[in-house]
Structures are given as C-alpha cells and as structure tokens.
C-alpha cells in the first residue's frame, strides 16, 4: 500500500501545491487531475523519489520511503515524459538492458511476448530510431508489462497513442490491477480502467 501525506512542492520561488494526501491500496488506481502547470509531473517525481521531499511523508507498506528506498524502488515502475529508450538499440535490447538496470533478468521470449502484446511484432530487431512516435511509446509501455513492480507511476501514458494502442495499454494496466497492482497516473483525457478508480484533483 502506498500512502502519501501532506506533500508540498516549491519550484524556484513558486509554490506549486501543498498538503497533498492520498492512499492507494492493492488493485486501486488513482487518476491525478489538474490544470497545466499545477505540478502533476512534479508530484509524480516527488512520489517516486526523484525530487527531494521538503515536507510530508511517503510510506510504502507502512515504512517510510526515505528510510527504505531499495524496498520501494524494487516495487516501482516509472514512465515519464522521456521514454528512456536508446535510439540505436532495438526494442528487444532496450527491454533487456532496462530490466537488468532494474535488477531483473528478462528472457528473449518474455520480452518478445511483451512487445507482441502492444502490437510490435516484427519490430523487435529494428533500431528504435526508425520506429514511429507511437511505436516508440508502445515500446516504452511494454517495459511495464515485463515489470514485476507493484506500483506503476505513469505520466500521461495515453498520449500519442491511437485507439488500438490505447486499448492495448488499457488491457496491460487492467491485467496489472487484477493482480492486485496499483497505478498512479496523470492523463488529460477521461480514463476508464477496471478495479477501483480514484481521482485526485491537484490545485495550487
């Protein structure tokens, strides 16, 4: 379980948000809403631990994330604005290297299956450089399907995807939720997923 209490964030001189609290239980997803520039991405980065905590607390399984970062990170998958793909590597190589960095080994078979699930069959051995924008995003998303992390933190995962790809992604996320996973995401559009959905409106 993830529980976040009394987070606040200042960027430079500007106070973005303060006193943000929510909890996320297994099988639940939370849609973070708010206007542009209100600090949705900043909140996600704060929750992941990319930014230093100024105020408030983040707890994972009732333990402070600041004091037990390894345990939290082992259960965390983050997808940001940048896709973390190497353009000169193939989707397959990217997935395998990413998994190793995250501390797991992924077989070629598993990686191929994950890519196929997001409709990238036949693209496994091309350099990412030659893929379309949507295909690149799907490659990055297939990293999630391979991840064993309990908590997914996704920044605008549905952006730049066509209808079929959106459905495929929804399926991947639903599968994760069915296995008692948790998802924290931002999205400009309405989100419909299975399981118990919450929404949190961020304002200054």
């Amino acid at each position: 379980m993830l529980s976040v209490s009394h987070l606040s964030c200042t960027r430079g001189d500007k106070r973005l948000f303060s006193d943000v609290s929510f909890t996320l239980a297994p099988g639940q997803w939370l849609h973070l809403e708010g206007d542009n520039g209100v600090g949705k991405t900043s909140l996600l980065r704060l929750v992941c631990g990319l930014s230093a905590l100024e105020q408030g607390q983040i707890q994972w399984q009732n333990l402070s994330v600041v004091h037990n970062p390894e345990e939290f990170r082992a259960n965390l998958a983050y997808l940001g604005h940048q896709l973390a793909l190497k353009e000169d590597l193939t989707p397959l190589e990217n997935l395998q290297a990413d998994a190793a960095v995250a501390g797991r080994t992924v077989s070629v078979f598993e990686a191929m299956a994950a890519l196929a699930q997001l409709g990238l069959r036949g693209r496994e051995h091309l350099p990412v450089r030659v893929l379309s924008q949507g295909q690149k995003r799907r490659t990055a998303l297939s990293r999630l399907a391979l991840s064993h992390a309990k908590l997914w933190v996704l920044d605008e995962p549905f952006v730049a995807l066509d209808g079929a790809a959106q459905n495929a992604l929804s399926n991947v996320i639903n599968q994760h939720l069915n296995q008692q996973g948790m998802v924290l995401l931002t999205s400009h559009q309405a989100v419909s997923l299975q399981g118990q959905g919450l929404s949190y409106r961020l304002s200054a």
Partner: protein, 222 residues
Amino acid sequence: MSAFLAIVKRDLTLALRRKNEVITAVFFFVVVAALFPLGIGPELNTLRLVAPGILWVGALLASMLSLGRMFAADHADGTLEQMALSPNSLSVLVAAKILAHWLLSGLPLVLLAPLLGLQFDLSTNALWILTLSLLLGTPLLSLIGAIGAALTLGVRGGDVLLSLLVLPLYVPALVFGAGAVEAEISGLGASAHLSILAAMGLVAAVFSPWASAASLRIALES
C-alpha cells in the same frame, strides 16, 4: 552485478554503433601529439625531454573531450531517471558508466601511446613506462571527470565549466603520470610514481562513484 555489466554492455554497444565519437577523441590525441613537434622544432633531444608532458597533457585533453557526453545522453532520454529509480545502488551503476567511459576513451589512448611515443624518439623502457602510467592514470581521469560531468549536467555552458572544474583536479594525475616517464628517462626508476598513481586510483574508485551519484541525484531534482 548483472546491472553493472548490463550498463557497461549497453554503453559499449551504443558506442560501437556510433563509432565516430570514440574515433574523434583518439584522432584528437594523435593530432595534438603531432602538432607539438611542429611548434617546438624537430630537435630530437628537446622532443625526448618534453614527450612525457606532451603525451600526458594530450591524453588528459582527449579524455576530457568525451566527459561532457558521459551522462548527457542518459539525462536527455530519461535513462538516467530509470537508473536513479533502480533498486541497485546508483553508485554502482555510475561506476559502470565510468568503466565504460574509460574503456572507450582511456584504453584507446593507452594502446596508442607507445606509437606516438616513437615519434618523440622515446627509448623502449620509457615507452613501457609511458604505457603503464597511462594504464594506471587514465582510469583516474575518468573517475575524477565523472564528478565534474555529473555536477555540470544540464547546466548552462556546462562544457566550458566542466573543464574549469576538472582540469585543476587532474594535476596530481598529470604530475605523477608524466613524472613516472621522466623519472625512468633520468634513471631514477618509476615505481614510486606508479604506486602513487595506483593508490590515487583506488581512493578515487571508492569516492568518485559515490560523489558522482550524489551529484546526479541533485541534477535530476529539477
């Protein structure tokens, strides 16, 4: 450990698919070494005297040339974020980046140095010591440089700033590296120099990944 190896492998694969970056640094080293005799004059006695210093300064500049790119690409494409979020210690992952950097920018210089030393009419013994001093010293350059590269990541005018930060810290490596060759030439023996170089490398190997990782986390905060 598998994460460490995976990062080394990834960086090497990427460099092999974009060979020009490695080749540029090596070529730079060759050109710099060839320019000095043109500036100083072809007198072999003089050249023998200045060779250790010139080759070491050349190696120093060549290895610095590629420092700016050490973390920049990973920072730009988001890979660095994923590394910071890995349950593996970021210091270990950074150590892998440093090793890859040395394999790509330090090792070629080490292998090339004896060839360039011949241009300066160095004796066989001196060539050996030159190669050995570079073998022990260039990892030190990558280790110290990593801290500078991490500190200047995403900073305006980062590349120029990087050289200002890193070059003064390179002084001990330069003194003992070039000093080893000079000591060999003058018959004093280079073992003391080489031991100190190795000792400094060990200290840096412990401290630098940690300091670089801390700097990278700071760079990722904004």
